[in-house]
Structure formats: structure tokens, C-alpha cells
């Protein structure tokens, strides 16, 4: 697709964000900052058991507390919200048990934190007091705390009405793996485990449901990654028409995936607001956040890699067990992505993976920044390091030999993605990306640095990680651009930022076509009443989808501006240029019409006909519907020092070379990449969501679950390569997750390299200081 090169003054410029002055002055508007008159406050009664039968609920004491307005359990919900389970938006035939949660638990709770009832009171404090008074009669049942254990024959069932804990099973395969392995001179086997972590956005989830009886309509204010999904969810669970539900997402304090989900709390709040006819607010507290907001990563991989004598990969095969947690809220999206990410930037002639998705009695797994890709990258990169060591090849050289070359683009991997379409890398120069990263970190000089350090009793290591990331997936995202009768320009989109800077980047894209300053374009996000359809800002998709929609809509509006202005000035549209809010006749400084004048003309006058075939207004709505994903790629190289006495890892240098196609705003891209790496550092070194054998969560605060701090994250050096995508008019690819996806393997690889003198092999993440000491001790003995 081409023909509208988005070159201009704004696209590509590292301009400061229009969002920031308000946020810096404390004038942002997050959901808890909204105070509607008469608001009541909710607290949820949550299961303390990982698995139990609910035999009864006695709310009498809670209801009797002064200031309590209602205690609502499943029995008190409207019919549809009581009987239906939450909708599954991503069905897939691979799912044998597409089990979704109820709004409020009925006969069974399946994880610690599952909501059983909500209390609505005058204040949050009273609601919490009352929630503690709700007596739920539980009959505890055996719980499943690990996905491998879940598929063992003797495992208890995670759900009482299920005969099996297997939620889905599907093969991913291409080429002839059996033949490749039969003939291979070398086969390497490994088991990998990637541990569970959370998004831990700084603003917890939260929502306000408002019911207006005079309109018989509900407004839900929710901290989310896309209000349209929530509207769809409410339409499924309540007997409402399209016009009776409006969902608004104000400023959002981070999302990273789990805020895209339609959670049970939201319909429960709507039911409460309808019952009480007052706005009901719920702000998740951090303890709840640890048990009620979805998490990701738990996967076990058993893999074999077949390689030729020169290190060329011949085939990859094995089994991956993915933990679903309690419900299938995001279907098979995450494991499917993991499986399709493993081949990465390498030529792999044959691949066969058996993917098993298993229920456990833990909080549901849905994508967290990276969405299954960090695992796929980790297993591949760790296998390559294993091969390099065994065949005494330089790890960078081994990778280079296997990388897909730029001359092979577009490259059909052979895989079928979950949308049924082939995985085809659209553009990129992977060898150049790796070479640039190696040069930046002075890879050639590392051996000398390592030797010198070892002579001083210090252990340095270097790790390389390459990734290819499918971004910009459909189905669509839209933009409406409208020039009001006073000349003001507004852009409406269903893409919903959580810190990405949409209000700046989309204004940049539109400003180039409309010939105005970005400050002249107001970008409105997060409101189902301003644009009919939206998917939301997830999956590194918004620059591609909403960005392209913005670009195409702006072109159409610009055309109409010119057509009407040309008519007004009796010139040809081709003679006009848009500049500073005017349509100007080229070379004739006096001949111009303001957007205001043109907008007024576009609306016509009462009693007068518009020219034949003309729609009123300076407005266009375009939905961009990409045919398939566009693939970004990264190389990360980490140089670390490991203290073999304490197990502490210090990242000495960290280089990223990042290719996300054409860059809309380098300042913002760099922020996304660096922030993504920080998340990856957490996954590599710190973040452990620990459960006991009964699936009771043990890490329930930021003292027990460690997030990376300013002293943990080193200075990260970011370089760019721009391989434009041919699949969208801007040539852009997604950029929000590559940092996280690629980082874990690079850091763990560097640690293993540092500990090579001890013979330590690392096949898991995270590796905490304690774990590193254990691995050193185990290798010694």
C-alpha cells in the first residue's frame, strides 16, 4: 500500500507531548479523580480460598452496619447478569473448555480473589468494614497451583464440573520435523520455565457506574485500554440498547495489557448503580490488584533443537504447557503468540509444537506487556546459547548464520497465526540490526573486558537476544476528524492511551495533512459516544491502526476543505495549499479562506440546498483494517556483572537496536523502548508472583513482589533502524512491547555467560540473587 507518503513537518519530529502540562501540574483526570454528586462506594467480598464450593452467604451483619446501602451477591443481580457468564471475545476451536467467570461467583470460587459479593456504602471505609462482616460459607476443595501439575492424571480438578484441566490443545507445525531430527548431527534438549508476573500499573483498576433513570441509561467510567470492549461486554450482560450504554475511559495510569479486559467488577457495579440509582465507585486497592487483575507468563517448554555441524538450525520441536489460570478470558491468544514467536528472526526449516493450555486455581492469565512473546524469545535464545557453547561457536556468529536475510523479505515463516493467516514478516534487516547492536556495545572487545575482570575475581557476561514481534493487528481502529463551524479541529478515536501519547502522535499525523500546528488539533479518546467502534490500545497496534486511520481521515478532510474552498474562490482544488488554518491559493497571498469560513460553507444554510452529491460538514470517519500483522524487530545486548557471593546482578551496559518501521516521534519511541526494557529487567531478575501448594498467593505487596527501581535499571542505549512496513500508509510498526519481549533472554544469557566458569545453565526466569546462588552451588556439587 502506498501513494500517501506521510512526510511533513510533524511526522517524525520529537515534539513534546500535549498531554504533559496538565499531568505535571496535578490536573490529570484519572477515574478516582471523578466525583459525581451522590456517589456511593463499593468494596468486593473476595474468596479467601483458591477453590471452594459456595454454600451460602449471610450478609445480615453487613447490611446492618450504618452507612451500608446494599450487599449484592449473584442472587441479587438482574437475570441476564446472574445467569450469563462474561463474554469471550476471542473464541477459537482449539478451546475444549472456553470457561468464563460469572459476574459474581455462584456455586463455586476458582481462585483467591474471585468476587462473591459487593458492598455499597457511604464511604469506601464503611464498605470495607462491611465487606469484612459478610459471612460466606465455603466448603474448601483441593486446589491446583501449577499448570504441569494440572495435567498430571492425579491432579484435582480446578473446576468442579470439569473432567479435565485441559482448557485447549493445539498443534503448531510446518515442515517435516521428524525428518529434520532424524538426519541431524546434533540435537539439544532443554526444559524451560517462565514464571508468572503482573502488569502492576501504578494506577490500580477502578470504575464508576452511573445510572440515570430519566434516560434509562448507564455510563461506566473505567480505567481501561478500550471503552468499546466494555460496552460490548455490558451489551451482552444487560438488556440494553446501543444508546443506553456509554463507556468513558479518562486518563489511565498504565495498562500493559490487563486493563484491556472486561472484568466481573464492572457489570457488578452497573447492577449496583441501577439498583440504588446512585453512582457507585470502586477503586481496586493494591492488595486486590494482586489477586483480581490478570497476570501472565507461566509456561513450561520441553524443546529439542536440531542443528547441523556448522550450527545452522534444522528443526525445532517439543511441547509447551501454558497456564490459563482460572478462566479463559483471553482464549488461546497468549500461548498461540508464544508458539508463533519462538522461531523469531531465524531460518528454521521445520517446527512442531504441541501446545497444551491448562486451568489452575490462580488468577486468570491474559496478556501482560509482551503477550507471550518474551517466553518464545527466551526459549529460542537460550537454545542458541546452548548450541554455541556446545559447538564452541561465538553466540553472535551462530545467530548471524541463522538469521533471515533482508533479501528474503517478505519472509513466509510457514506458521499459521491465530487469525488463520500465514505469518509473513513484511520487512526488516535482522543481520544489520544485530551487527549494529554488537558494534554499539563493542562486542569484539568484550572477551578482553571479561578476561580482565576475571583476573580481578569479577564475573562479567554478555547476552544477545533477537526478536521479531507481530504488531499492528486488526481487526480495525478508526478515526473521525471534524472541523467545527468555528474552525476548531477535533480528532476522535477508539484507541485509548495509558501513557503512550496518542493525543500527540495522532495530532502529528493529522497536522501534516491539514497544514496546522499540533496544538490546533484536539484528540479525544476513550469515549464510546464519539466514535461507533473501537478495539483499544493493546498489542502494539495503535500506531498502525489508529495512526493509519487518522492519516487517511485527515487526507479526506483536507480534500473536502480544498474542494469547498476552491468552489468559494473559483479556483481549482489543485491550486490550493493548506497552511495555518487556511486554504490558500498558491502564489496569490490575498486569496485564502479560513477553516472557519469553509466549515460554515460546508454546512449550508437553512432553506438552501447543498450542491448535488455533497454531504454536509468537514468531516471524515475512516477505519483502518490491516490485512495482517506487520513485524517489528529488535536486538538487545546486555553486559552484566554477577557477584558470586551475593548473587546480585549489575547490568553494566545495555544496548537496544530497535526497528519499528517509520518513527512518528523519536522522543516517545525511546520512552516506550526504555520503559519496556525496565519491565523486562523486572521479569528477568525480580518479579515473582509466589503461590503456596494450595494456590494461596504469598507475594501480596511491593515489599514481597519487587518491581524494578531507579537503582535496578541501568542507562539503556537505544538505536534505531527504520524498515518501513509496506502494509500501512505510514510505514509504521508497533513499538510498545519490543523492549520487554527481548530483554529477558539477553539478561539471563549474560548471567549464564558470566557464570560459565561454574558451568551454570539457566533455563528459567526470573533469576533472583537467591536463585543464582542456588544455581552456582548446584553446579559446583
Amino acid at each position: 500500500m502506498s501513494g500517501h507518503p506521510a512526510t511533513g513537518q510533524w511526522f517524525g519530529a520529537g515534539v513534546r507531548r500535549v498531554e504533559d502540562p496538565a499531568l505535571l501540574a496535578g490536573k490529570g483526570c484519572f477515574v478516582d479523580d471523578i466525583h459525581l454528586p451522590g456517589t456511593l462506594h463499593a468494596a468486593f467480598v473476595r474468596s479467601p480460598h483458591a477453590h471452594a464450593r459456595v454454600k451460602g452467604i449471610d450478609a445480615a451483619a453487613a447490611r446492618a452496619l450504618e452507612g451500608v446501602h446494599a450487599v449484592i451477591s449473584a442472587a441479587d443481580l438482574p437475570d441476564t447478569a446472574r445467569t450469563k457468564r462474561l463474554p469471550l471475545f476471542v473464541p477459537n476451536p482449539a478451546m475444549t473448555q472456553p470457561l468464563m467467570p460469572h459476574v459474581l461467583a455462584r456455586e463455586e470460587v476458582s481462585f483467591v480473589g474471585e468476587a462473591v459479593a459487593l458492598v455499597v456504602a457511604e464511604s469506601r471505609a464503611i464498605a470495607e468494614d462491611a465487606a469484612a462482616l459478610v459471612a460466606v460459607d465455603y466448603e474448601p476443595l483441593p486446589a491446583v497451583n501449577d499448570c504441569l501439575a494440572a495435567i498430571a492424571p492425579a491432579s484435582p480438578a480446578a473446576h468442579i464440573n470439569s473432567s479435565s484441566n485441559i482448557a485447549a490443545r493445539f498443534p503448531i507445525a510446518y515442515g517435516d520435523a521428524e525428518k529434520a531430527f532424524a538426519a541431524a548431527p546434533h540435537v539439544f534438549r532443554e526444559h524451560f520455565y517462565l514464571h508468572r508476573g503482573g502488569a502492576f500499573f501504578m494506577e490500580t483498576r477502578g470504575a464508576i457506574a452511573q445510572y440515570e433513570p430519566q434516560k434509562d441509561a448507564v455510563t461506566l467510567y473505567v480505567s481501561s485500554q478500550g471503552p468499546h470492549t466494555h460496552k460490548r461486554g455490558l451489551l451482552e450482560l444487560f438488556d440494553f440498547g446501543e444508546e443506553q450504554i456509554r463507556v468513558i475511559t479518562p486518563d489511565v495510569g498504565g495498562g500493559f495489557g490487563p486493563k484491556s479486559g472486561f472484568y466481573p467488577e464492572y457489570p457488578a457495579l452497573v447492577a449496583a448503580a441501577m439498583k440504588l440509582r446512585r453512582p457507585v465507585k470502586w477503586i481496586e486497592d493494591r492488595r486486590e490488584n494482586f489477586v483480581a487483575s490478570n497476570q501472565e507468563r507461566d509456561q513450561h517448554w520441553d524443546l529439542e533443537l536440531a542443528v547441523a555441524k556448522d550450527g545452522k538450525i534444522l528443526g525445532l520441536r517439543g511441547r509447551m504447557v501454558h497456564e490459563a489460570g482460572a478462566y479463559m478470558s483471553h482464549g488461546v491468544v497468549t500461548p498461540w503468540i508464544s508458539a508463533c514467536t519462538a522461531p523469531g528472526p531465524y531460518v528454521i526449516p521445520a517446527y512442531k509444537l504441541d501446545v497444551v493450555v491448562a486451568f489452575t486455581n490462580k488468577i486468570t492469565v491474559t496478556p501482560v506487556r509482551g503477550a507471550g512473546r518474551p517466553q518464545g524469545v527466551f526459549v529460542m535464545e537460550r537454545l542458541l546459547d546452548r548450541v554455541a557453547r556446545a559447538l564452541k561457536l561465538d553466540p553472535a556468529e551462530l545467530r548471524r548464520r541463522n538469521l533471515i536475510g533482508p533479501e528474503q523479505m517478505p519472509y513466509a515463516v510457514g506458521l499459521i497465526f491465530r487469525d488463520g493467516k500465514p505469518v509473513t514478516y513484511d520487512s526488516g534487516d535482522y543481520p544489520a540490526c544485530q551487527a549494529k547492536a554488537l558494534a554499539a556495545i563493542d562486542y569484539a572487545g568484550f572477551a578482553a573486558r571479561q578476561d580482565k575482570a576475571r583476573a580481578e575475581g569479577r564475573y562479567l557476561g554478555i547476552g544477545i537476544s533477537n526478536s521479531v514481534e507481530g504488531t499492528g493487528l486488526g481487526p480495525h481502529e478508526g478515526a473521525t476528524i471534524r472541523i467545527a463551524s468555528n474552525g476548531k479541529i477535533t480528532l476522535f478515536t477508539g484507541a485509548t492511551p495509558q501513557g503512550q501519547g496518542h493525543k500527540t502522535t495522532y495530532a502529528q499525523i493529522a497536522a501534516d495533512q491539514l497544514g496546522v500546528d499540533i496544538r490546533d488539533i484536539t484528540v479525544v479518546t476513550g469515549d464510546t459516544s464519539v466514535i461507533a467502534y473501537g478495539v483499544g490500545t493493546v498489542a502494539s497496534r495503535s500506531a498502525v491502526n489508529a495512526g493509519s486511520a487518522t492519516h487517511l481521515a485527515a487526507i479526506e478532510v483536507a480534500k473536502k476543505v480544498k474542494r469547498i474552498a476552491a468552489d468559494m474562490m473559483e479556483v481549482a482544488p489543485e491550486d490550493l495549499v493548506l497552511e495555518g488554518g487556511f486554504a490558500k491559493v498558491r502564489g496569490v497571498p490575498d486569496m485564502k479562506k479560513s477553516f472557519r469560513e469553509i466549515a460554515v460553507r460546508s454546512l449550508g444554510m437553512p432553506g438552501f440546498a447543498l450542491p448535488a452529491g455533497t454531504q454536509p460538514g468537514l468531516e471524515n470517519t475512516t477505519y483502518f483494517t490491516p490485512e495482517r500483522a506487520t513485524y517489528a524487530n529488535n536486538t538487545h545486548v546486555a553486559e552484566v556483572e554477577v557477584d558470586t557471593g551475593t548473587g546480585e546482578v549489575r547490568i553494566l551496559r545495555y544496548v537496544v537496536v530497535h526497528d519499528c518501521g517509520r518513527v512518528i516521534n523519536p522522543l516517545l519511541i525511546e520512552g516506550q523502548v526504555v520503559g519496556g526494557v525496565a519491565h523486562g529487567i523486572g521479569n528477568a531478575l525480580l518479579e515473582r508472583m509466589v503461590y503456596d501448594e494450595n494456590a494461596q498467593p504469598l507475594s501480596m505487596n511491593f515489599g514481597e513482589y519487587l518491581l524494578p527501581l531507579a537503582t535496578d535499571v541501568p542507562r539503556i542505549e537505544v538505536h534505531h533502524i527504520e524498515s518501513p512496513s509496506p502494509l500501512n500508509p505510514l510505514g509504521v510498526k508497533g513499538a510498545g512491547e519490543g523492549g520487554t519481549i527481548t530483554a529477558i533472554a539477553a539478561i539471563v544469557g549474560a548471567i549464564e555467560d558470566a557464570l560459565a566458569p561454574f558451568g551454570v545453565r539457566i533455563t528459567e526466569a526470573p533469576v533472583t540473587p537467591q536463585r543464582i546462588i542456588e544455581l552456582i552451588e548446584a553446579a559446583k556439587s
Binding site: P21, G26, F200
Partner: protein
């Protein structure tokens, strides 16, 4: 259910007086009683630092201090950091220029923490900034741009001869 206490405080130079339950945190008091919603609560257990405000010039977790403990004290919140004419402070300005915020939720607490740092140490090293900043969690930025913004603001403030 519990007794009500009068609390009189000065916030950003303005006097306020409210009746509150003794169990109300300073963070909830600022946000919900005074409607100064710029102070954000991120963890409510004293680790993330999002709720950091200055009490008599010293950084304090507003989630770990009770409103009644603030009786008679002078508090500065993010809403009070800008200059008298409403212009952004040098630190806020540098945050903007260096892209030191993404979602902006942790930003108010970080600004308060670093405002205190730059007052007490006009020429901090990167390591000193990181050590101070390690009491605030940011999930978006990876901290690098925050460090750079702080260094830039310090340099500019020294250039102004310490005038703020």
C-alpha cells in the same frame, strides 16, 4: 462509627479546615476532602511513592500519614509546585522536555521527591538522583528520562543562581 476530629492544615499556601475520622489518611484527605486530586495513591502501603507530598518541606508518604497528624502543618502537593505565575517549575519543565512521564500517575510523587532533592542538593550526581528516586516506582519510563530531566533542571536552577 468513630469520633470526628477537626483538622486545620495549610496546603500550597492556602488554609483548610475539615472534620474527619481519625482513620482517614492524609492522601484520602487531600484527594477527597480538599479535592486536590493531583496526589495519587498507588499502593497504600508506603512502597510506591506515588502519594509523596512535602510536609513542612520534607517528603512524606501521604498514604502512611493520617490526616489528623497533619494538624497545623504546611503541606505542598504537586498542585503547589508551579511558580507563582502558574508557569511550570524548572523540574516540571524539564520533565516535559525530556519526556520523563508517560501515564503520569506516579509523576506527582516523583516531582515532590525530586523537588526536595534539588532544594537540598543543587548539584546531584546521577547516582544520587537514582538513590533518591528509588523510593518511587514508575512502571512506564524505566527512569532514564526522569534522571535526565532532574540533571537538566538542576543545571538550569544553578544557572538561575538558586532563585526558584
Amino acid at each position: 462509627m468513630s469520633e470526628i476530629r477537626r483538622v486545620a492544615v495549610t496546603v500550597n499556601g492556602k488554609a483548610y479546615e475539615r472534620s474527619v475520622e481519625p482513620r482517614m489518611s492524609l492522601g484520602d484527605f487531600l484527594r477527597h476532602e480538599l479535592e486536590l486530586t493531583g496526589t495519587h495513591l498507588g499502593c497504600e502501603h508506603g512502597v510506591c511513592g506515588a502519594c509523596t507530598v512535602l510536609v513542612n518541606g520534607l517528603s512524606v508518604r501521604a498514604c502512611l500519614m493520617l490526616a489528623v497528624q497533619a494538624q497545623g502543618q504546611e503541606i505542598t502537593t504537586v498542585e503547589g509546585l508551579a511558580r507563582a505565575d502558574g508557569a511550570l517549575s524548572p523540574l516540571q519543565q524539564a520533565f516535559w522536555e525530556k519526556h520523563a512521564l508517560q501515564c503520569g500517575f506516579c509523576t506527582p510523587g516523583i516531582l515532590c521527591t525530586l523537588t526536595e532533592l534539588l532544594r537540598d542538593n543543587p548539584d546531584p550526581s546521577e547516582a544520587e538522583i537514582r538513590a533518591t528516586l528509588s523510593g518511587n516506582i514508575c512502571r512506564c519510563t524505566g527512569y532514564q528520562a526522569i534522571v535526565d530531566a532532574t540533571l537538566l533542571a538542576a543545571e538550569r536552577m544553578r544557572g538561575e543562581g538558586g532563585a526558584r
